[in-house]
Symmetry: C2
Subunit: 334 residues, 2 copies
Amino acid sequence: MVKVAVDAMGGDNAPAEVIKGSVRAVNEDNRIHVVLVGKEAVIQEQLQQYTYDKERITVVHAEEEITNEEAPVMAVRRKKDSSIVKAMTLVKNNEADAFVSAGSTGAVLVGAQLIVGRLPGVERPPLAPLLPTAKGVTLLIDCGANVDARSSHLVQFAKMGSVYMEHVIGIKNPRVAIVNIGAEEEKGNALVKETFPLLKNCNEINFIGSIEAREIPAGYADVVVCEAFVGNVILKLYEGMAKTLIGKIKEGMMSTFRSKLGALLVKPALKETLKDLDSSQFGGAPMLGLKGLVVKSHGNSKSDEIKNSILQCISFKEQNINERIKDSISVNEA
Amino acid sequence: MVKVAVDAMGGDNAPAEVIKGSVRAVNEDNRIHVVLVGKEAVIQEQLQQYTYDKERITVVHAEEEITNEEAPVMAVRRKKDSSIVKAMTLVKNNEADAFVSAGSTGAVLVGAQLIVGRLPGVERPPLAPLLPTAKGVTLLIDCGANVDARSSHLVQFAKMGSVYMEHVIGIKNPRVAIVNIGAEEEKGNALVKETFPLLKNCNEINFIGSIEAREIPAGYADVVVCEAFVGNVILKLYEGMAKTLIGKIKEGMMSTFRSKLGALLVKPALKETLKDLDSSQFGGAPMLGLKGLVVKSHGNSKSDEIKNSILQCISFKEQNINERIKDSISVNEA
């Protein structure tokens, strides 16, 4: 059984979509036990409308909530009775294996470090979303947890990302690349120039060199390593470009009578293709290197993404990802 | 008359497309005089197939070429008889107002600094391409000339970018934003946190605060300021995402009989819309802050982009952009 603490109050569509996603996860896979953390009365009222195995959804009451507007460190320190702090405390005390939240990213990142805590040897735990590509999926690591990282952090990200892609996503010998502004080894900023030879000398990963941002959507690497500021820019531009381009295409299709007719005909096929590029299919971004698993879902998650965020915790636990990460990091230290 | 030195040998489609683009520019606007720099015999042979005002295209012979594979600094220093070095020397000696090249980016950036030289007061000359957005166009500054820049450089980029957008593109009081990983002032890496208050205190620009990468394609700012590594990632991901998404959409449209039929009907309207998102319509990226203008076109430029790169030199000269940049920088220094 995999026990997942879920922040019932976090996200733009909480609690309704969060609770719906939790019920769907439990109904889809009988290895899942969800602990919904938040205002008990609200949660119980929502739960009444669903049919599910009552033994596999429990509720832990939390009186407070942390909003996106609050300063994360302060909020995590002060609001001991918030859904985020209480749920993370369950993970810390081994009463849950994982934590899923669509709430304040800042509070989740801070709580992960302060409450759940890092695995021995891990310098900085990265946030690592999966990006859809033309060929499947790529892990972007780090996308926002540690700005101004050092080269040793990036090497650990490469190792943790490799473990995740191989054992959770099932890609044998995943190709690791570092984001750079040219393909040649001498290109880059100071951080990349320092990190490149370290990655090259890393025997436990399949380092293929630099990747230019242009090649990420084409799927040229399985693990894309970068400092968090750059990763955050990549993640958000990915989302922004997709939205703008699809908007423009819809606008084009609606511009003439002839194109409107054509749009009706291409719509079903196009919907199917664009689904491949929808990142919610993967669930939220895992934060790696912690004593437990923390998954950060998008703030605007619907039940689908919440469900997928919960389900990804199964292979994380069954594949002993944290043990594997500890092993790979200790090789690094040796 | 605006005299533009063109690197006839630079780019994947040189010399044919470069020469075709030059002829088209001369035929489209009678203020343009092009000096084609490169192997004279090759150039003259290509020119024979076109009709144009012979007084407005001249040829300067250059025996050598600089390739993408050569180390830029070394190549610029050694190959005195290359098309890039000779054309830039024309600009330096005021025998040409501007230089356009689709050749080695590294050599163009190095040559711009070593041969053309910086305007007084300019610390670092940025490369600033125009990006298509849902609402029109945005200047991304810097996108690759100066990695690991300092905050004072970014402030100058903001000023130079504002001058360019206002007087070349014609956007009154352009909105300037700095690329960041969140909207709040306290967010960001060390460089952004240091630069933010400097931009806020800059009276000559219309600073609107941080921009998340997600909002760039939507067109939320006219001048998007960032350090070159980040800018390069944005520019290349912009291109890569567009290519992958359009590829996926075409694939979807070709997947069923019904959708193929629909594709025939939507094609003309879609082509029209996607043209808005084609960056070649703007010509290449200007490098600002130099004694003269240097425009870097894409390596794979066709005649269209070369023509547009040449034509943008007109408003650059007529609007006295360099005088305006000098003025805006000196305000900075005061």
